[in-house]
Symmetry: C2
């Protein structure tokens, strides 16, 4: 096992404000715990398109287009679009970027994509390279299941640890802080390292991601000289029910006690009645929960400082078949309320 | 067709120096035009591993490790690793990042990855977020062919426009410019937009990428107020023989005459005797040619200012089967010699 990385904390020289957000969720998600909070709930997985993949790309494109409208930014003026998704060659993001015709960097961080794009976008906007940066991601139950696991038509029995890929897309537009009014800014964060504790079960992504989340939290707290008390909430992406238990144990071993400060988007997105087993997952999971629920609660004054840390299982059907284990990664972004 | 993006030129506030590079090439590449320039030529596509995918990931990891050694940077001290490759879920980069245990952002830009990581890495290093950033990519003939086209064992006849994926990996370590001695710095660049002119032929990647390259060159020259005369060389990634012809035509239509200033890594990497048809391709192609040949020629004083623009075809077997066309993207990085 290599020596662990140093903390390498990232401080933004100027605060990057979240100017606007937009999110789109699937039907089942719309019936879940945060159903009323979503900007748009689609009633049909195809959303008028000829394939689920095309519907997913449309969700990404629409989330960006409508977030830009809310921020009053013309696509032509947008300095940079940062985005990625779960599909091979990140086709949802690529085809959406083609429609949007904006400068575009594609990223791949599996389900960690929302915090990856927000940390990276915050750094680039804060440094003055671009006036505005759009950070976006999406996932779709039907496309992810058939790519990563089995044909959807098989109707396989799902294991208790299995999580359900969220159908959802989210975009956050970053720019200079407004002169007045409550808003949320990005002040810094910590880039994750790829951690692998030897999980091979492709139906237990939470276990593959929890060690990476624990590592990033430890490096983050160390680098910033913070403790859990410095945060009102620590939001993880999609560890799910079992991944959350693991994270609580792994951080406690390091003397970091998250306890009721931990809010996992995957664990919370579906209600207990929805038969989602371990919870939700997918890039869209943390994207839609952050933008629909966490950020509005911050704006309303419920939380002053939140650590947002989407978590990704870097799972590949090819490498799994070649006997490889599943590494994870988690990137942490510090969100603060300004009035 | 959406309105084209504005130029959005990227100027670095401080120059980011290329402290070191390392590259590794396959056997056929070692017999090609730049064979003597590579740091290492592997004699066997498996390089002692159990699969081509594992060999590819090892090439990535070794390129980073040895570039860091040359720059005298401990992996623990490295602020950020930026990398990606052609494989689904960028597994070569992910598994290498696991071994390296450094903070890591994964990117996906297909064959544009080398200039994507260098432009992004330059921006992050220049802004002071990290003292050092490693930018890396790789590709492998055997893994790419079977993922994107057909089982290697079929031995299909290749079309004249088909390019051969280069087996190669390259890394460039960026940091603060040295106090003395000739070195190459990144001074700025232009982020590409995703352009699609309707190409559907998965054996003609050059045609899919040339429109994106033309768009980025036009936006770059416009944004910086430059002409072709401001550059000693314009290096494209892997347009190949036919893509180069298209790029010459597409830029000439806009009044930009590249002519003998154009140097395409894909067109040049293999000799005419090597039966590589349209030329080389893959993320590794521009990576190994830049680090083995272009940068040393700059250090030797042959070129003062080079525009390095790796080009990517965002091709996906799934979307191709669903009737989608193949979009392209190209990111431009300005490299300048300092003495």
């Amino acid at each position: 096992m290599p020596v662990n990385a140093k903390p390498h904390p990232v401080w933004l020289p100027k605060e990057a404000a979240i100017l606007s957000t937009y999110n789109i969720a699937g039907k089942l998600e719309g019936e879940g715990n945060f159903g009323k909070n979503y900007d748009r709930v689609i009633e049909d997985d195809l959303w008028g398109e000829g394939s689920w993949e095309k519907a997913e790309s449309k969700m990404f494109e629409q989330a960006v287009t409508l977030a830009l409208q809310r921020a009053n930014v013309q696509a032509q003026e947008l300095g940079l679009l940062l985005g990625g998704d779960l599909l091979n060659q990140i086709i949802s993001a690529n085809y959406a970027a083609r429609q949007l015709a904006t400068p575009f960097f594609g990223v791949y961080g599996a389900c960690s994509t929302m915090s990856l794009t927000m940390l990276l976008g915050g750094m680039l906007q804060s440094a003055g390279y671009f006036d505005t940066v759009a950070c976006a991601t999406c996932s779709h139950f039907a496309t992810a299941e058939r790519q990563f696991r089995a044909p959807n038509e098989l109707g396989n029995q799902r294991t208790p640890t299995a999580q359900r890929t969220v159908t959802g897309a989210a975009c956050a537009v970053l720019g200079c802080p407004p002169a007045q009014g409550p808003h949320v800014v990005i002040t810094g964060g910590t880039v994750g390292t790829v951690i692998d504790m030897g999980v091979t079960d492709i139906t237990n992504m939470g276990a593959a991601m929890a060690p990476a989340a624990a590592d990033t939290i430890a490096r983050h707290m160390n680098g910033f000289g913070h403790t859990v008390n410095d945060y009102d909430l620590i939001v993880t992406g999609d560890l799910g029910k079992y991944g959350c238990m693991m994270l609580q144990e792994l951080t406690a071993e390091r003397g970091i006690f998250l306890e009721e400060k931990l809010f996992d988007c995957g664990e919370r997105i579906f209600s207990d009645k929805q038969d989602a087993h371990g919870g939700g997952s997918g890039c869209g999971c943390s994207g839609v929960v952050l933008t629909s629920t966490i950020l509005p609660r911050m704006l309303a004054g419920h939380y002053q400082r939140v650590l947002f840390m989407a978590t990704g299982a870097l799972m590949s059907p090819v490498s799994s078949m070649q006997g490889e284990t599943i590494p994870g990664v988690a990137h942490a972004v510090v969100l603060e309320r300004r009035a």
